[in-house]
């Protein structure tokens, strides 16, 4: 599994489209299958919209939401291995500005950051996109603890 991370309009989708023009794109929460078919190249995006909608519903606490997202990551990773598929996750960087005024926006920012961390530890390759340029992040040092 690969993770592509970067700010708004940084060029994440363009990069992945250039790499894998034939891939299927799944928006998290959309009607089509979230998991890849056998041998399929799958791009999964729309994480922030999914989080935002979940926060707006207001039902779950942060830990439960983070766990729900991690379960999706695990399911993708397992399906990728089992079905000889290849999965690319696209996640937005949104943690480098000032603290948002609204509580819902703060939750979105927190959950999105945790998602990026949880995705990165599961991915073989992690890429950072900045102004259309990309570089591979060092994933050799696993988080402590």
């Amino acid at each position: 599994m690969q993770l592509v991370i970067g700010g708004a309009c940084a060029g994440k989708r363009e990069l992945v489209r250039g790499w894998y023009p034939q891939a299927r794109w799944h928006l998290l929460g959309a009607a089509d299958a979230m998991l890849p078919a056998s041998g399929e190249r799958l791009v999964v995006s729309g994480w922030a919209d999914w989080i935002e909608a979940a926060v707006e519903r207001g039902a779950e606490d942060d830990d439960a939401l983070r766990l729900a997202l991690a379960e999706r990551l695990d399911a993708l990773l397992a399906a990728e291995a089992k079905r000889a598929a290849q999965v690319v996750l696209i996640v937005a960087e949104m943690g480098r500005g000032i603290v948002p005024m609204g509580a819902a926006r703060r939750r979105l920012r927190d959950l999105n950051g945790w998602l990026a961390q949880d995705a990165a530890v599961r991915c073989e390759r992690v890429w950072y996109v900045r102004h259309g340029l990309h570089r591979r992040l060092d994933t050799r040092e696993m988080p402590i603890g």
Binding site: G7, A8, M94, H131, G132, R135
Partner: protein
């Protein structure tokens, strides 16, 4: 040569851009400052004055809030030009002109092509604004989309792309000049 230098607020990106211009300046060439800010209020006037003092003497200032390509026509071939800062130019495009995003990026493309054709070294400084929370209103989205289109275009075209963090230049493309 074209360099694209960007970073956060007060990251030292302007100082780095100015240092780069001095390094690229040829012995008998001039250095130009392509100003994108205009002193609409007291705070802006103070910011402009501060930057002017920090740059020091020896700069020829060209006022070009919008038409960067025409401004370059006034520059002697073989000169070095500092354009600081692209975020203000993007504001001018969105709030002070009738250009749409495609027309604005075409104008920027003409500017870069003109610099290449006339052997002008160009250093473009800008502010990274896209790694915080995404905007909530449509106008801010349009601004961010325009600015990022310009940033991607510059990064693709530039020989050197530098991210400045706490005054330290980090190379994304090319090598440190």
């Amino acid at each position: 040569m074209i360099a694209f230098v960007s970073g956060g607020a007060r990251s030292g990106k302007s100082a780095y851009g100015e240092a780069l211009v001095r390094r690229w300046q040829q012995r008998d060439g001039a250095r130009y400052y392509l100003a994108t800010a205009s002193a609409d209020d007291g705070e802006m006037a103070a910011r402009i004055a501060r930057h002017r003092v920090e740059r020091g003497s020896g700069w020829v200032t060209l006022e070009a809030p919008l038409a960067l390509d025409t401004a370059l026509a006034e520059v002697d071939a073989g000169s070095v030009v500092l354009l600081d800062c692209l975020t203000l130019w993007a504001s001018r495009v969105l709030f002070g002109s009738s250009l749409d995003q495609a027309e604005a990026t075409a104008l920027l493309a003409r500017t870069l092509a003109k610099a290449r054709a006339r052997d002008i070294d160009l250093v473009v400084v800008s502010n990274d604004l896209n790694e915080g929370m995404p905007p909530e209103d449509e106008l801010s989205w349009r601004y961010l989309a325009l600015l990022q289109a310009a940033h991607r275009q510059l990064a693709a075209e530039a020989d050197v792309v530098i991210q400045v963090i706490a005054g330290l230049p980090q190379v994304w493309k090319g090598s440190l000049p």
